[in-house]
Amino acid sequence: MSREVRGARSADGEGIPAEAATPVVLAEDLVKMHRTEAGAPVKAVRGVDLRIERGEFVAITGPSGAGKSTLLHLLGGLHRPDRGRIWLEGERVDTYSEARWAVLRRRRIGIVFQFFNLISHLTVADNVELPALLAGSSPRQARAKRAELLDDLGLEGRENSTPGELSGGEQQRVALARALVNRSSLLLADEPAGSLDSKGTREVLRLLSRYHARGQTIVLVTHDARVASAADRVISLFDGRIVDDAALGGGSPADRPTGGVSGTLKLKG
């Protein structure tokens, strides 16, 4: 199966060949079992290999029960695989303890969930600043980053609201700010538009596309083809296995976002 493989940016912003680049995510032969209520083991993920290059925007799609959320949770360390290996930016992480995964999620992996999972009694500002503080930013730095992100996401003036006072689309934008505040190298999104109306969905997709255009690596899980089609690459999961892996857009370079990913290379893989 040939598809486009994008090279990563080197320090000066020039593209370097994909073979020389370390993928953001590399996974080999991932297997995850779940137990049914009767206690019978069921394979939710059945031997998945995955390679995600820096700057890629990948959608994982498939029917409910195909294992797509489980796969995303494996990549974020929220579930542990029963078999297989995972590297994050070249670093073997599947052997990590819970505590080390927590550090990874604080510093290098941002996660956005369907139901936002904001801390309901904290203000919008505190929800975004907290992970920056936990990752070692000074209060001043955390405030500056928060202000920049909320501005960027069209949430200026909402700093002192609590999540319950916001619309679903606004809450998801706060969750996005929280996931991006530490400049995560990987953004994972689990049905990010799953509880939004069509306006909120468009808004979140527009923002994801914008961060992708600036070079953010994004992996999102969705059963919604409108959401999946915002990505450059769509992986179809079926019954715990990858059945198709397709580059979208037909490789017309003029249509590609430039800006942050000016070093984009297209190689036949």
């Binding site: 498939g62 069509s198 083809a225 079926f238």
Partner: protein
């Protein structure tokens, strides 16, 4: 109907009435069926186009019947038909015909057809998203038109998933 008849002939030679019955059996009652006259007219045109060739077979008590078989050009036409993505979304019946006819032809794998079609729909969805983003947001009619097309596509994609589910179940039973 032209290409469906050709695909049916990829199974082997048949005469007009057999083809009509095969079509009914393949696509079921819900699908609007051609009458026998339309089938004969279509076969005549296909023969003239060199995609099939007919042979008269004498019958003792009844008029001769004409049996048709695919020519090389006809096989190529079926292969090209199976190979190209199908227009979306209102004419998806043609994809259904491909899916139904493919196993009998021995020329295409159903899961491959589904994957190819899914890619085509996803690219179409992407084009629509871009159209929607480029379109004036206040032009509600244009936005609704695009949204309608996207919902059709979403339905088609859900349906492809169902097809794939059924095929996987069949495979596991075998």
């Amino acid at each position: 109907m032209r290409l469906t008849l050709l695909a049916l002939l990829a199974r082997g030679p048949a005469h007009g009435y057999e083809l009509k019955q095969a079509l009914e059996k393949l696509l079921g009652a819900a699908y609007p069926q051609p009458n026998i006259g339309q089938v004969y007219v279509t076969l005549g045109r296909l023969e003239k186009a060199g995609l099939i060739e007919g042979e008269d077979i004498a019958q003792s008590s009844r008029p001769n019947k004409r049996t048709y078989q695919l020519t090389d050009a006809g096989r190529e036409a079926v292969a090209a038909w199976l190979d190209e993505p199908t227009e979306e979304p209102r004419v998806r019946d043609e994809f259904f015909m491909k899916l139904a006819a493919a196993p009998g032809t021995g020329m295409a794998d159903q899961v491959t057809l589904i994957n190819k079609q899914r890619r085509h729909y996803l690219n179409a969805m992407r084009d629509l998203s871009r159209l929607a983003a480029a379109e004036d947001r206040d032009n509600r009619v244009a936005q609704l038109l695009i949204e309608g097309a996207m919902l059709h596509l979403q339905a088609d994609l859900d349906w492809l998933e169902r097809c794939q589910e059924e095929l996987e179940q069949l495979e596991e039973q075998e």
